[in-house]
């Protein structure tokens, strides 16, 4: 038991010699020495008092001294209570010795009682004080954590949140420096002095680590930061001994704040995109309507006059035809311009389903109805061609454009040939005419807006936008459109679609 007591006293001494942070060494020493002296002084005063009032008896003296040791032990600390106990033992030995005589066993018992009281009481009170210290530290941590969470949840953007995080960590947790590395933007936010101690390299490396890295010796901690379950950065602190639980709690709060602001940003972004698309759509509709309304009156008036042609002279008839045909042309140009604008600004959304390319080509052909003009079209597409993930209406329009072009440039007597190929992960359809062909120098340019072929392709009506629209539609599907030529024997347009629907983002 004595051994156990001695062991504990050793622990207490070590504990007591740990200098609290808020004291300088000088102050602390002075205070301890003063308290030691006071402890011995109290014992001496009590003894002196009792010696003066001698009729109280020895038992009362010893009991009073014991109480004094108890009091000192519970109030001050181990060293003070030990000094008081020894002093009390010695005083009893020296001044209260008779009638037992020096070295009598009663004195040893008294000294032991003083010592045991001192050690046990200190032990108990130290334990209580330690508990209280821990509790208040925990409370302070929680308060700081709460303040920290409140402060970092008030930002609207990811960047301001991250900047705020480092500032608040320094402010709230009293660390020397904090630095945050955010990988998606490859930026480091710093606050406090001595960020160099955290080390840029360690921060960047920590992004790949799973758990926080705590280095109590250098008082540095680096922890990963997550967004939607992925590590997107790391937070480094230096100059404070925060507990591991607190550090993990901080990291968790940062994750939450980051998640929240990034969701906010995302919502704001998609809202803006949707609004802008709606606006574009409305503007295009209004434009089309405003342009077409006067055109409708012109065309209605012209065709009305044309229908009573018996009353008009041949010259009038010719002029009315010009008005009518040109209104049609204007209408076509406007339709294509609006269509082009819709596809270009992304208002057109693909409604993709698995369709047979063969059926799509036939549907385009049905719309054009070339047989009515006695034109020939040979279609060589096997029924076994795998289906592709396409927007039927838009792709039908592409084939209509290609077939229409081919019919325009192909001599009336020779057929337009449509064939297909199916290399491993795509379907390619080719439309070949036996017209004048397209010089190789123009193979890319004919898909540009408003580009009109020069040789042999002039004089045919068109807006020059059909192929640009077709290219746009095909590319929206993740496909490709291009032209080749059979020398002197016509042009071949190819359209290819991926089979597994490699969607464009």
């Amino acid at each position: 038991m004595i051994l156990e007591l001695l062991k504990r006293s050793a622990v207490h001494i070590v504990e007591e010699t740990l200098i609290p942070l808020d004291f300088t060494i000088h102050n602390w020493l002075l205070r301890r020495i003063l308290r030691l002296a006071a402890a011995v002084g109290i014992i001496a005063v009590i003894l002196a008092l009792f010696l003066r009032i001698s009729y109280l008896g020895k038992t009362a003296i010893v009991l009073s001294l014991l109480l004094a040791v108890l009091g000192i032990a519970s109030r001050w600390g181990f060293a003070e209570s030990l000094a008081a106990a020894i002093a009390a033992g010695l005083f009893v030995e020296c001044f209260v010795a008779p009638p037992f005589g020096l070295g009598a066993p009663q004195h040893w018992i008294a000294l032991s009682a003083f010592l045991i009281t001192a050690i046990t009481t200190t032990e108990l009170s130290m334990r209580a004080r330690r508990k209280e210290r821990e509790a208040s530290a925990r409370r302070r941590e929680l308060e700081s954590l709460y303040n920290f969470s409140q402060a970092i949840l008030q930002c609207a953007t990811v960047e301001s949140t991250l900047k705020n995080v480092v500032d608040r960590i320094v402010e709230v947790f009293g660390v020397e420096a904090a630095a945050l590395y955010y990988r998606p933007k490859d930026v480091i936010f710093e606050a406090g002095s001595g960020c160099a101690a955290i080390g840029e390299g360690s921060l960047r490396a920590a992004v790949n680590a799973e758990n926080p890295q705590l280095e109590p010796v250098s008082r540095r901690a680096i922890m990963p930061i997550h967004l939607n379950g992925c590590t997107v950065g790391s937070l480094g602190l230096t100059g404070a001994s925060l507990s591991e639980t607190l550090i993990q709690a901080i990291a968790h709060r940062v994750d939450i704040a980051l998640e929240r602001t990034s969701a906010l940003e995302e919502a704001a972004r998609s809202d803006a995109a949707r609004k802008s698309e709606e606006l574009k759509s409305v503007v295009l509709d209004a434009l089309a309507h405003d342009l077409k309304t006067p055109l409708s009156s012109i065309k209605a008036a012209a065709t009305s006059l044309l229908s009573e042609i018996s009353h008009a002279s041949a010259g009038d008839f010719e002029l009315l035809c010009v008005i009518n045909e040109e209104s049609d042309r204007l209408n076509r140009i406007m339709n294509e311009a609006v269509e082009m604008a819709r596809i270009e600004v992304g208002i057109v959304e693909l409604k993709r389903l698995q369709y047979s390319i063969r059926e799509t080509v036939y549907a385009a052909l049905e719309d054009l109805n070339p047989a009515a003009d006695g034109r020939l079209i040979e279609i060589d597409i096997p029924e076994t061609l795998p289906p592709v993930d396409i927007d039927f209406c838009l792709v039908k329009q592409v084939f209509k454009q290609l077939l229409d072009n081919a019919l325009k440039y192909c001599p009336k007597t020779s057929p337009v040939v449509v064939s297909s190929e199916c290399p491993k992960d795509s379907v390619t359809v080719s439309v070949a005419d036996s017209g004048p062909g397209i010089p190789e120098s123009e193979w890319n340019r004919i898909f540009e807006k408003h580009y009109r072929g020069c040789e042999g392709r002039q004089g045919t009506p068109g807006t020059g936008m059909g192929l640009a629209i077709a290219k746009n539609i095909v590319e929206k599907h993740g496909g490709r459109i291009w032209v080749t030529g059979r020398p002197e024997r016509g042009a071949v347009f190819h359209v290819s679609f991926p089979i597994h629907g490699a969607r464009t983002p």
Binding site: K292, T293, A300, A301, T303, N324, D328
Partner: protein
């Protein structure tokens, strides 16, 4: 005696001018309205035989006006609109329109469509049975009366003509083009979406189970067929 009274509903004065001039010249009596509300008032007071309706109207839109007109009248409605997507057409037909002409249009075409709208499929005895009596469906083709499960249902003229044509050719698939030309007129044939809308409306009124029709069947890629059950009295 005019060829018919036509109500032109359009907020664009120039269109109204052209229409008034041309239609009058072709013997029609023309009244006009510049808004949906205006149109409903004219409809009540002047009782036109046909309505030409623009979709883009101030205030109450054309679609809404179309719905209101159809709810209280069988007058043929032809939509005139710059909107040219299939969705717009289907919406307008669903709202009760009989036909849809995209602006700008040729006057010849519009006149043909007006004539088609005035024309009724002749109810000659050869065209089919006069009376159709099935388990839960009774149709008197002469009185144009349809009774489904003991309650009378109301079919618009186009719906009725379409139904009569299908019944007259019961058991055989009628191709889209043939059906369109028979019911709308010889200038039609490509307007497959018209059939989709009108067949759907017919089914809603006649079929006991919409998801599994027993009378009006779809023949994929060809057209529609009226399936005559075994027990009938025609």
């Amino acid at each position: 005696m005019s060829a018919g009274k036509i109500l032109v509903v359009d907020d664009e004065p120039q269109i109204r001018r052209v229409m008034r001039t041309t239609l009058s010249k072709h013997g029609y009596e023309v009244i006009d309205a510049r808004s949906g509300k205006d149109a409903l008032a004219r409809l009540r007071e002047d009782l036109p035989d046909l309505v030409l309706l623009d979709l883009n109207l101030p205030g109450m839109g054309g679609l809404e006006a179309c719905r209101i007109i159809r709810a209280g009248s069988e007058v043929p409605i032809i939509i005139l609109s710059v909107r040219n997507t299939e969705r717009d057409k289907v919406q307008a037909l669903d709202a009760g329109a009989d036909d849809y002409v995209t602006k700008p249009f040729s006057m010849e075409e519009l006149l043909a469509r007006i004539r088609a709208a005035f024309r009724r499929v002749p109810a000659s005895p050869e065209a089919g049975p006069r009376l159709l009596m099935l388990e839960d469906l009774r149709v008197d083709f002469e009185a144009r009366k349809v009774t489904v499960r003991d309650s009378e249902v109301h079919l618009t003229p186009k719906e009725f003509d379409l139904f009569r044509y299908l019944v007259a050719h019961a058991g055989q698939p009628v191709p889209h083009r043939k059906l369109l030309q028979a019911v709308w007129g010889p200038d039609y044939g490509h307007e497959v979406e018209y059939l989709r809308v009108f067949i759907n409306q017919l089914r809603k009124k006649i079929e006991p189970d919409l998801s599994n029709p027993k009378y009006i069947l779809t023949e994929p890629w060809i057209g529609y067929r009226f399936a005559m059950p075994e027990r009938n009295a025609g």
